[in-house]
Symmetry: C2
Subunit: 160 residues, 2 copies
C-alpha cells in the first residue's frame, strides 16, 4: 500500500497546514486546550530560527500525515540523532502502513545525515504503539524519566 | 559560594576539554566503554553542524563543570526549548552549589532566547538528584518513556 505515498519537506508557506496537524494531534490526545502555537510562532521557530523540521506524507495529492522532528545529540556517540517530536496520520488514512512508512523515511534520513539514533517518546498507556515500536527494534529507555521546568517555575529559576 | 563562578560558551578550540568532560561523566556512570566520541566528531557536529552547544563553568581560572545542550521543540507551545543532555561538575568541586548555578544559567539562557521549557532526563535510581529537581519546581514526565532505534536496528529500518 505504501507505493502511493510520497514525502516532502514543509516550507514557510506550509505553516497553516502544520498548525492544522498540531491541532488534529492535540484533539486526538484530548489536549486541545494546551495548544498555544500560532502560524507566526511556527514561522519564526521552524523556518527562521530553524529549530525543527517538518515532513509531510502525501497520498493522492493531499498531505495525510506529518512528522515534526529536530536534531538531538549524544555525547557518548559524539554525534547528532533525530528526535521525532510528533507523528500524526489523519484518522481516515490509518491502517495502511503510513505511520511505519514515515518512521522508515526518518530512519533513512538519519542514515543519510550520519546520525546515530532515531528517538521519540510515547505515553506508557499506549500499548498498541509500544508493541509496534518494540517489534521494529526500538529499545524502551525504561530507567530514565524526563524532568521539565516551564512557565512560572522557569521564570523563578532564571530570576533566582 | 556561587559568586566566584563564571561561565563561557565553548568554541572549536575546546574540543579536547569537552571530550575530557564527556569521558569523566562516563567514568562516573561506569559507562566508559560506551564513549565512541572523538575530538573530530565533536568538532564536526558541535561546531560545524551546530547541533549542540557547550557551556563551561569556570572557577579560579579553570573549567570545573560543563553542560552540553541543544534546542528541542514543543508543537503545543509552537516554540523551541532547551534540552540539557549532560551536566557534570568535577567531583572535587561538588557541594558548592555549582550544579544549581549551571541550571540557573541555562534557565536564564532559555528566557533570553524566548524558549518555553528547560528539560533533561535523569536515571530513576538517582533519588538525590530527583529530589533536588523537584524542589526546584521541575515536573517529572512520569507517563512517558523514550524509545530509541540505533545501530543495526536503525540500519534495518532504513533499508526495509
Amino acid at each position: 500500500m505504501e507505493a502511493e505515498l510520497t514525502f516532502r519537506m514543509a516550507g514557510p508557506e506550509d505553516v497553516g497546514k502544520i498548525l492544522f496537524f498540531i491541532r488534529a494531534l492535540a484533539a486526538y490526545e484530548k489536549m486541545e486546550d494546551q495548544v498555544v502555537a500560532t502560524e507566526e510562532l511556527l514561522r519564526k521557530w521552524i523556518f527562521e530560527e530553524r529549530k525543527a523540521e517538518v515532513l509531510f506524507a502525501v497520498a493522492q495529492g493531499k498531505e495525510i500525515g506529518f512528522a515534526l522532528f529536530f536534531h538531538n545529540f549524544s555525547t557518548f556517540l559524539g554525534r547528532a540523532g533525530i528526535y521525532l517530536e510528533d507523528l500524526f496520520v489523519l484518522p481516515e488514512y490509518r491502517g495502511r502502513g503510513y505511520g511505519k512508512a514515515i518512521l522508515k523515511k526518518l530512519a533513512r534520513l538519519a542514515k543519510e545525515r550520519g546520525c546515530g539514533r532515531l528517538e521519540w517518546w510515547c505515553l506508557d498507556w499506549n500499548r498498541p504503539s509500544i508493541d509496534f515500536y518494540l517489534a521494529m527494534g526500538a529499545e524502551a529507555m525504561e530507567d530514565w524519566t524526563v524532568y521539565r521546568v516551564a512557565g512560572e517555575a522557569l521564570d523563578a529559576l532564571a530570576a533566582e
